[in-house]
Amino acid sequence: MPLMPKRVKYRKSQRGKVKGKATRGNTVAFGEYGLQALEGGWLSAQAIEAGRITAAHMVRGEGRLYIRVFPHKPITSIPLETRMGKGKGEPEYWAAVIRPGMIIYEVAGLPESAARICLSRIAYKMPFRCRFVSRRPSI
């Protein structure tokens, strides 16, 4: 079952725009390495789940995977071959709004080489360009 909120105030939301860059959630916080989005967009709950399954094979037993994003936004669509009008479509799926710079996944307990392979495999499932990052030097 893909991720979605348990309770919401409104069933549908306006589309909005992905404005600006990530000022929060742009550092590796829990693990040692992370996957950082280089572009903005919507990341569907299905894509998040696909990434988790891909990583699960790599980190099984050895390390831990952290998912740093959650699909809070309901995305609606109008069925095919429907005439325009008659109101907004029904919620189709849930998505996370991703700004450039956000860390989407983190891994802990894996050596760097394994973490690179793991996160690059997840990156194939993402709808935007991503890069591998490690922790920032502490000051």
Partner: protein, 210 residues
């Protein structure tokens, strides 16, 4: 102990984002120095020098501001949204024998035998310590070569160098070996297809009551 280095800086008169952007294009990083009740001075340092200091864990620098030398602590660094470039740096004036509170990274040493049976977790990657400004440890080394499944190392168990005092909660877990997670596949039927709408249930109940 983290080493110290000399860093040249120039006072800057022009402030604001446009001037800062120009400086960065010229290979310099805008910054400030403050502390000890003296005036805050806006300055700029070489991007290469600062990068070297950050990458090598240097915390204390001998900053020359227009010919005048001043010992300063690298207190804060602002990064761009991708964490690739430094945008701004804060220096804090220090004197000999002054104690400061800084964050020091934790370095794990050895290979835990229990990690094969379980999973090595490190919830804390850096701890806050109070120490002499001139004696900031480069890292706190934690030997994990004796750790078995179920073993936990707390902040209070850390062997800190002389004169270094931990400020982080002593009961906080630094590293532990936990049992491997068993991933349970969720049943699709168990969770509803749509989330509950806040307030809808109440309204419906009220309507039914009427």
């Amino acid at each position: 102990m983290a080493e110290s280095m000399e860093m040249k800086s120039e006072p800057r008169s022009q402030i604001g984002s446009r001037a800062a952007r120009k400086l960065r294009k010229a290979g310099k990083i805008p910054g400030v120095i403050y502390g000890h009740g003296q005036n805050t001075i806006s300055l700029s340092v070489s991007a290469d020098d600062l990068e070297h200091a950050i990458r090598h864990g240097i915390r204390v620098v001998d900053l020359s501001i227009g010919g005048e030398k001043q010992k300063a602590l690298l207190r804060d660094v602002q990064w761009d949204y991708l964490g690739m470039d430094v945008l701004h740096v804060d220096f804090y004036r220090i004197t000999e024998g002054e104690r400061v509170v800084v964050e020091v990274p934790i370095e794990l040493r050895g290979e835990a035998p229990g990690a094969h049976e379980g999973m090595l977790e490190q919830p804390l990657h850096q701890i806050e310590v109070e120490c002499l400004a001139t004696g900031i440890p480069e890292s706190i080394r934690v030997n994990i070569s004796q750790m078995q499944l179920g073993d936990v190392i707390h902040v209070r168990d850390l062997k800190l160098p002389e004169g270094v005092e931990a400020k982080t909660d002593p009961d906080a877990v630094v590293v532990q070996i936990v049992a491997k997670e068993v991933v349970e596949e969720e049943e699709a039927a168990a969770s509803p297809a749509e989330p509950e709408i806040i307030g809808r249930a109440k309204a419906e109940e009220e309507q039914e009551g009427e």
